[in-house]
């Protein structure tokens, strides 16, 4: 069989073609059908150069712009990863690896970070990346005038400067062992700089594809970057991204072969799509989750027993089956998913228990409770249905949830963080610290539960600077426990990313940190 293995290797490397392989296999006594399957597998598993990938994306708006500071939807995130690189990336094994940086190291207190710039990386305009470009690219998201979504993340940066051509030194206000994750955020694209400023609107980056045309809300087209520094990436010759926000139009386009892949499959029609033999469905579990935050600074949610009663009054399993049709996982009232490094798997799963809910109500000095829950599908598709289901479940625990339907328009400015209780979603964050400091730390601008917990906040600072793996795991475990039993958030579900592609599109292990293979499908996938 070793000879056959050699043949396979030759076939994969392209030294022999399929016909020669079949002839060779026949000579070794392998049946034609079996040999054909083997050849197919060998060829499919090997990334092959060529072809034009056409994507139908359920996002994209005519108001999109190329400025990385304004990237907020899935369309721009995909475009971003096609034309830009970042200091670090999460690879298909889920590990953080250097991208435009070659390596990094931290001081012992994790307060000072040194990033080495990868040599010989070129922008699309021919300029070589140096430390000044990285400093300018990061600074684009800092400072008083920045409108970047990454600004709050980079507030911990006290100073960033270039030390020669190939080193960037970052000073933090406190230790952060996960800082490479933070600075690798998708907004912080590495752009060419001039006199310390980046030209954010040019669309010039270092990525595997060069932007050829971009019509916001309609299409973007790319051609392969011949000087791409990464080996074994960017297999397509050309890429075209269409913004197809209507899910039926997207599905039709995939079925009729006008596009090769689509994101955000309608789960309701998934069973019908699976019948089509030219299409395959892919699914990843990431950090994205739905939440129902309560304002703990307002009554009745300032009483932890009330919060516990509400947490017990929801049948998560039923919600998973109806709202997501099983394409997800139940949540445990904290935002750390199973795909996070320090997920506390030993924490007992909270289940539907009206008696416990009644018990907590009694502890809070109540026999029954009436609370309004504000909901709109802006929070997530099916949010209003979920609220209505919640009302049905909670009724058994003498809790009367009044579902208030809000308009999608202005939901994030008028309802979220304003009304005492509403529906919400989070894309999740790659690290525990990032998630907690964004939405659960005292005083954080998106602390949508207005939650203050002394022990939690103390652990947060300590764990951030802790370089010992085991100790960090314990700390983050305890934080998840505190949040589950005392926090102001109900986390009912983690939602899967479900996407579909034509059978001829091939991919390796799919990464679930974001939609569409970590939003890197353009660089990672290939045609069979």
């Amino acid at each position: 069989m070793n000879k056959l293995g050699d043949l396979e290797r030759l076939l994969r490397a392209g030294h022999i073609d399929r016909r020669q392989f079949l002839a060779g296999a026949a000579a070794l006594g392998v049946g034609a059908a079996a040999a054909g399957t083997l050849a197919g597998q060998a060829l499919a598993a090997t990334p092959k150069r060529g072809g034009k990938l056409r994507l139908g994306i359920g996002h994209g708006s005519t108001t999109d712009s190329l400025d990385p500071a304004t990237f907020e939807n899935g369309y721009m995130a995909l475009l971003n990863f096609a034309i830009n690189n970042h200091i670090a990336e999460i690879n298909s094994e889920g590990e953080l690896v250097p991208e435009v940086a070659a390596s990094w190291e931290a001081s012992d207190d994790a307060k000072t970070w040194y990033f080495k710039v990868r040599q010989g990386v070129e922008f699309h305009n021919g300029k070589t990346v140096d430390a000044d470009d990285i400093v300018a690219s990061v600074n684009h998201h800092r400072g008083a005038d920045s409108k970047s979504a990454a600004k709050p993340l980079l507030e911990q940066v006290v100073d960033i400067k270039a030390d020669g051509k190939d080193t960037v030194v970052v000073e933090l206000s406190g230790g952060n062992a996960d800082f490479p994750f933070v600075i690798g955020d998708y907004h912080v694209a590495i752009l060419p700089s001039k006199d310390g400023k980046v030209d954010a609107m040019s669309g010039v980056g270092t990525g595997g594809y060069i932007l050829e045309s971009f019509e916001p809300g309609v299409r973007a087209s790319f051609k392969r970057n011949p000087n791409y520094f990464k080996a074994g990436a960017a297999h397509f010759d050309e890429v075209e991204m269409l913004s197809v926000t209507d899910v039926a139009a997207r599905t039709n386009a995939l079925i009729t072969g006008e596009i090769d892949t689509m994101d955000r499959v309608d789960i309701k029609t998934l069973a019908l799509m699976k019948r089509n033999e030219n299409i395959k469905i892919a699914e990843t579990t990431g950090t994205a989750h739905y939440t129902i935050p309560m304002r703990t600074d307002q009554g009745p949610f300032d009483n932890n027993h009330v919060r516990m009663a509400l947490k017990h009054a929801l049948d998560r399993e039923a919600l998973l089956q109806t709202v997501l049709r099983g394409h997800g996982a139940v949540g445990n009232d904290h935002p750390i998913s199973t795909s996070n490094r320090y997920h506390a798997s030993d924490l007992e799963q909270r289940t539907y228990d009206p008696d416990k809910a009644k018990f907590h109500l009694k502890k809070a000095g109540l026999t029954e409770l009436t609370v309004p829950l504000h909901a709109a599908d802006a929070a997530f598709a099916g949010a209003v249905d979920a609220a209505v289901l919640y009302r049905e479940h909670a009724a058994d625990a003498n809790i009367n949830i009044e579902v208030v339907r809000e308009p999608n328009d202005g939901y994030w400015s008028n309802v979220w963080m304003n009304k005492p209780w509403c529906m919400c979603y989070w894309g999740g964050r790659p690290t525990e610290d990032w998630m907690f400091s964004t939405a659960y730390a005292e005083g954080a601008s998106w602390n949508d539960t207005f939650w203050k917990h002394e022990r939690f906040n103390k652990l947060l600072v300590e764990a951030r600077a802790e370089l010992n793996e085991a100790k960090r795991r314990d700390m983050y475990g305890e934080m998840q426990l505190i949040l589950r039993d005392e926090g102001g958030v109900v986390v009912p579900l983690f939602n899967n990313y479900v996407f579909a592609m034509s059978k001829k599109v091939q991919h390796g292990t799919l990464q679930g940190n974001w939609d569409m293979d970590g939003t890197k499908c353009i660089e990672r996938w290939w045609f069979a």
């Binding site: 409108k147 609107m201 926000t245 209507d246 009729t256 006008e258 994030w412 998106w446």
Partner: protein, 312 residues
């Protein structure tokens, strides 16, 4: 007379712009909040507002914009700093192309169907054509569109389900890709025009002069073509123009279903993101389309009616 109508039109445009500006001002949130969404913190919103000059009072922004228009400058999109004239230009051309294509199919079709229906009044044909066109207008546009996609794109791959047009396409290729949305629009507008034609002609058939022609022994088709139709033109032109205006400004749903890059999608996106200059520019274009087409209808009505053309 024409000058008066034109200046009235301009006044209408001005009032429309004012109403739109006030309407958008009344919507909750602004561009900075709309673009940053859940990711908005007070500081980033403030910085964004300052950059976009949204911190200025509303009347100052309105006057600034109006002065720009008078100098032929539509301004830039707040969201991505692109020239609005360039942004609207290609999309308006796309929309006009689709509207013309639908009109080229729909107008002659509905006139012929209407004439024949009047000619063979209460026949099986008359009833059948009424039932079919009324059914197609009674369904929501997206439903008609999906039915067409199902039969002509998915089951039988005759036309593409996405109208993916770009500037470098040949006319023929462009028309091919626009076929399904054009058919959808045709189905949506035919009933209105067809029934108006039929009603106008049937109405006239009861007049004394038609009776006279009948008594003279003229053929039915000659009576309709030579005696009834010229006098029925005025109401028909009005309904045709009204539908043409609809084809230009009312096709948002069709554009969404076929992912057609027209003005409608631009308009909706801009309203959602509170991109006020673009919203205003789109509204001006829409208002101008209506005003211009109404003007055309009036003039054509006058031309087609000798009593109005030569007033005593």
């Amino acid at each position: 007379m024409v000058a008066q109508r034109l200046s009235l039109g301009l006044l209408t445009l001005f009032v429309v712009s004012l109403i739109i500006f006030l309407g958008v001002e009344l919507l909750p949130g602004d561009l900075a909040e709309a673009i940053l969404g859940q990711a908005a913190t007070p500081e980033t919103v403030a910085a964004f507002r300052k950059e976009l000059r949204l911190d200025l009072p509303a009347h100052e922004r309105y006057i600034e914009w109006l002065l720009g228009i008078l100098q032929g400058d539509l301004g830039r999109s707040l969201a991505n700093q692109r020239e609005i004239s360039e942004l609207i230009g290609t999309r308006l051309w796309n929309t006009l192309f689709l509207a013309s294509m639908a009109a080229v199919i729909a107008v002659p079709l509905s006139l012929i169907l209407g004439l024949l229906a009047a000619l063979y009044r209460n026949s099986f044909y008359d009833r059948a054509v009424n039932v079919v066109t009324l059914s197609s207008i009674s369904f929501p546009e997206f439903f008609v569109a999906y039915i067409l996609i199902l039969f002509l794109a998915v089951d039988n791959q005759v036309f593409p389900s996405l109208s993916n047009v770009s500037a470098d396409l040949s006319l023929w290729e462009r028309a091919y890709r626009c076929a399904l949305p054009a058919f959808t629009l045709t189905l949506v507008v035919v009933a209105h025009m067809m029934r108006m034609t039929r009603a106008a002609i049937i109405n006239l058939l009861a007049s004394p002069y038609i009776e006279m022609a009948n008594l003279k022994g003229m053929s039915r088709s000659r009576i309709i073509m030579h005696h009834a139709l010229p006098n029925a033109l005025s109401p028909i032109i009005n309904v045709v123009v009204l539908n043409l205006a609809y084809l230009v400004v009312g096709v948002v749903v069709v554009e969404v279903v076929f992912v057609y890059p027209g003005v409608g999608q631009l308009f909706v996106d801009s309203v959602v993101k509170r991109d006020i200059p673009v919203v205003q520019a789109c509204c001006l274009v829409f208002a101008a389309t209506y005003i211009l087409l109404n003007l055309t209808a009036d003039i054509l009505s006058i031309v087609s009616n000798p009593r109005l053309l030569h007033p005593r």
